[in-house]
């Protein structure tokens, strides 16, 4: 661990904190209210700034797990496995966030906590895939085998995502549209808040990745030190 990386990480953490404050302000107060009838609806609509940003990070994290998996299978280098693992753990948390914030929004918007809408369904399956990925990791003791298995599952699962999405979309189109796109379009001022939140969450993701990767590297170092004393 060198000092320069630590300084970058501290700076990123501070930047995330500042951006998050601004994003909170924009999402809750800065952005104009949506053109909706009910007051509850107008408040509830504001969740989309964080909801969609969370979903974006969830899928981005999953993509990085795939990248880490492919990298590991090609090079067998530990750093790719660390990337995949860190991204999967962070992605799981964000995907859970998507499901929870989606349900909170669905209640006032659609009157139910959950519908088998294509995006909700794919998010849920995505979350379950992540959980499976982490369970697979915890069930293998040998580190290189763990990394290989996780990489293979990461690749298989990632390839299944678009097919899953197509399947769910085809499945849903057989039903009539249950709700309009009321309040779905964003005005120009809302767009700014929206992209600001998206950027904030991306920075936050990078920061969390930095911390998680650092933690895993320190763990490896501790393990290596332990080994030298044992020998």
């Amino acid at each position: 661990m060198n000092g320069r990386n630590d300084k970058i990480l501290i700076a990123l953490t501070a930047l995330s904190a500042v951006l998050m404050m601004a994003a909170l302000y924009l999402a809750l107060m800065g952005a104009p209210s949506a053109n909706l009838q009910s007051e509850t609806g107008r408040y509830a609509q504001r969740i989309i700034y964080f909801h969609i940003s969370t979903a974006w990070v969830g899928f981005l994290a999953f993509f990085m797990t795939f990248v880490g998996g492919v990298g590991y299978l090609r090079s067998q280098a530990r750093r790719w496995d660390i990337l995949a693992l860190s991204s999967a753990e962070i992605g799981t948390v964000f995907m859970l966030g998507v499901l929870v914030s989606g349900s909170i929004w669905a209640k006032p918007a659609w009157g139910v906590w959950w519908i088998w809408d294509e995006r909700l369904t794919i998010s849920l399956i995505q979350f379950l895939v992540y959980v499976g990925y982490l369970m697979l990791r915890s069930a293998v003791e040998d580190p290189t085998r763990r990394a290989r298995f996780a990489a293979v599952y990461g690749v298989v699962a990632f390839i299944s995502v678009p097919i899953n999405f197509i399947a769910i979309r085809l499945w849903r189109t057989q039903h009539p549209l249950m709700f309009g796109t009321e309040g779905g379009g964003l005005g120009p001022n809302m767009m700014f808040a929206f992209f600001f939140c998206l950027a904030t969450f991306t920075v936050w993701y990078v920061t969390l990745m930095g911390h998680r990767i650092r933690l895993e590297q320190l763990r490896d170092q501790a393990e290596a030190i332990k080994q030298t004393f044992m020998d």
């Binding site: 379950l128 895939v129 697979l136 599952y153 298989v156 299944s160």
Partner: protein
């Protein structure tokens, strides 16, 4: 020996082992029937008469999927318990031949179980499932399910959790197969035309092509020491 012959040899080995023990087949078959019986009780409270048609495809495919998981679990755990996986890996064949051998033997076992389960299902649920197109759906769905299943089963057999882990890894990845198979089966029950069913066939075909290819590329990493 050509590549196809090597695959056939592995399938044949599995078939002979199964014919002598009959442990996998009997377990899969009894389990499939039990799932149907359990579903019958579960639905009986609310669903009757004509509405059975609406739940029948789902019940059928859940039975197939669960029986398939049971068979897939045995496919590699059996080899490990007997210490035969090492022997298979030492054989002068490409490792992917082992994958395809296991996949085809799983497909074969599942198809036999499904062929016997379908008439029973027809009798229990009172829906007519004798249709050539349905046979094609069952075949394509089974191939897709076994294609991912054989790859993941090779992995989970080498983990601490073994049998527990396979459904957790397999089911989220196999949802497209289940969605397509259930919708296509339902379409046939509803008397839809081939044109209406085409997209589900396309989806199954895509799945049946993509995942064996993915497994072909990654299987080496799963079995190498």
């Amino acid at each position: 020996m050509s590549y196809a012959k090597k695959i056939l040899a592995i399938v044949w080995k599995d078939v002979v082992a199964e014919l002598r023990t009959k442990e996998m087949f009997s377990a899969m078959f009894v389990f499939a029937v039990l799932v149907i019986v359990i579903f019958n009780f579960a639905f009986d409270l609310r669903v009757s008469g004509e509405r059975v048609r609406q739940v029948a495809p789902g019940a059928l495919w859940v039975a197939f999927a669960f029986a398939g998981i049971l068979g897939l679990n045995r496919a590699f755990v059996m080899e490990r318990e007997g210490g035969c996986l090492e022997g298979l890996l030492l054989a002068p064949v490409d490792h992917t031949a082992i994958y395809f051998g296991k996949m085809f033997s799983t497909v074969l076992f599942m198809l036999v179980v499904e062929a016997i389960t379908l008439p029973i299902f027809t009798a229990f649920f009172g829906v007519n499932l004798f249709d050539l197109r349905l046979a094609l759906i069952v075949l394509m769905g089974t191939v897709g399910f076994a294609a991912v299943g054989a790859l993941l089963s090779a992995m989970t057999a080498q983990t601490r959790a073994r049998e527990v882990l396979l459904p957790i890894l397999l089911l989220p990845v196999a949802t497209p197969v289940l969605i397509a198979a259930v919708k296509a089966t339902a379409g046939i029950l509803d008397g839809q035309s081939m044109a209406e069913l085409a997209r589900w066939f396309q989806l199954l075909l895509a799945y049946d092509l993509i995942f064996p290819a993915v497994a072909f590329m990654t299987f080496d990493f799963v079995v190498k020491e």
